[in-house]
Amino acid sequence: MNPITKSVLLSRKRFLQISAILFSAYPLKLLFDVSKTEPGSSGRHRQQILPLDLPEGISFHGHIIAVQKKEEVVFFSADCPHLGCQINRFENDQLICPCHGSHFSLEGEVLEGPATKNLSLLTYTTDTAKRQHTVLLPT
């Protein structure tokens, strides 16, 4: 075999290496497909029921922060817009993320980073007969 042909053709070892890499891509795709059908993937809560009579001020309800001011109520997502930690602390009129220390005002605005976005305002419906709020959570 002349040198030119030798440099163009793959050696058997190199061919096997490339084949192994190509074949390993298939289990990776399979893993990707399987993870899509993982059990529990459709069971995510899209809405949460909260009582009509919420305490005055701030209250935390899992993924929701309720701000009750006299007759008005506002709901924010408790998931920090930075990396999704659940905000669970309220001090000196500020909501504080326990994971990286972002501070937010009662209106959901960022006062101190690392978060750069405000808290998401959540939409809700009120059923006075059942005395409850139905709050819609983001997907």
Binding site: S35, E38, P39, R44, H82, L83, G84, C85, I96, P114
Partner: protein, 291 residues
């Protein structure tokens, strides 16, 4: 100076590589009974049940935890020891690449264990890890799906913790050590240390929310970095650069390799300072005494 410490240690005790291997084996063995009682759909409930009703099970969980921590600790010391001797040049390119990947996966398998306890800290860690994975350009969502699945379920992470990553790390260790079992003395040392730590500092669950959530000790520095740098993509980029620099050490010229190692060591020391600052000097409002 550090070299003489390593020589002193290796002469009197076992090598750090052997200790890390023994810790890995103990973590795997102690994980088997835990996997029997662990229910991925009701993770916290199953662990609470274990802690409350099965004292031996709770003990196994603590041994599993401590042997895992020691595995990571001794692995890191083993890496530092061999980088100080330039031994990475003696390894074949393929094996070096697999070892670097196994080191990365060691952090992942530790973090997945932290998440799988599914208490308040675990759930927050899952959110942050998922958020960081999603920031990877182009492949972020797919990466998150392959590693964490597309829901809040812990199912896929459990599979990775139990099988895929553990199997990979185990195979790479076998290939690297060229032996199937650690030295008996290392095994005895590590079994003793894990048992003692499990008795002295048993591991529970954090079920109530606290004012400040801390990640596992090896990621507290990262938590601090994420506090300072708003854009997680920048943090991910920096981490990938460090990993890339570490991987390329084997192929660098000696002078370049020496300076890169010094730079990586400086970064490690800085990471340590950040860890101490977060651990000891930050209050619940994230104010620090220093910076």
């Amino acid at each position: 100076m550090p070299g003489s410490i390593f020589i002193f240690w290796n002469r009197r005790l076992s090598t750090f590589g052997n200790l890390a291997f023994a810790a890995f084996l103990i973590a795997v063995i102690s994980g088997i009974p835990l996997s029997i009682v662990y229910n991925v759909d009701r993770a916290t409930d199953s662990l609470q049940l274990l802690l409350l009703t099965l004292p031996r099970g709770a003990f196994f969980r603590s041994v599993h935890y401590w042997s895992g921590q020691l595995f990571l600790l001794f692995t890191l010391i083993h890496v530092i020891e061999h980088l100080s001797k330039n031994s990475e040049r003696d390894l074949k390119a393929g094996l070096w690449t697999r070892l670097v990947l196994a080191l990365l996966l060691s952090f992942f398998v530790m973090l997945s264990g932290f998440i799988l306890k599914a208490d308040v800290e675990g759930k927050m860690a899952q959110q942050i890890f998922g958020g960081l994975l999603k920031t990877f350009p182009f492949v972020g969502s797919d990466l998150r799906m392959i590693i964490l699945g597309n829901s809040d379920s812990l199912n896929l992470l459990y599979v990775h913790h139990l099988i895929s990553t553990t199997l990979f790390i185990g195979i790479v260790i076998l290939e690297h050590m060229r032996r199937a079992w650690p030295e008996l003395l290392s095994y005895v040392y590590l079994l003793g240390a894990s048992t003692l730590l499990a008795i002295l500092i048993p591991q529970g669950l954090q079920l109530t929310t606290s004012a400040k959530i801390r990640g596992p000790w090896y990621f507290i520095g990262l938590q601090e970095i994420l506090h300072w740098i708003s854009n997680p993509l920048v943090v991910v980029g920096l981490l990938l650069c460090c990993l890339g620099g570490f991987l390329l050490l084997r192929w660098m010229k000696p002078t370049k390799s020496k300076w890169t190692k010094k730079f990586l060591l400086a970064l490690l020391l800085f990471y340590g300072i950040l860890t101490v600052n977060n651990w000891g000097f930050r209050d619940a409002n994230w104010n620090s005494l220093f910076f």
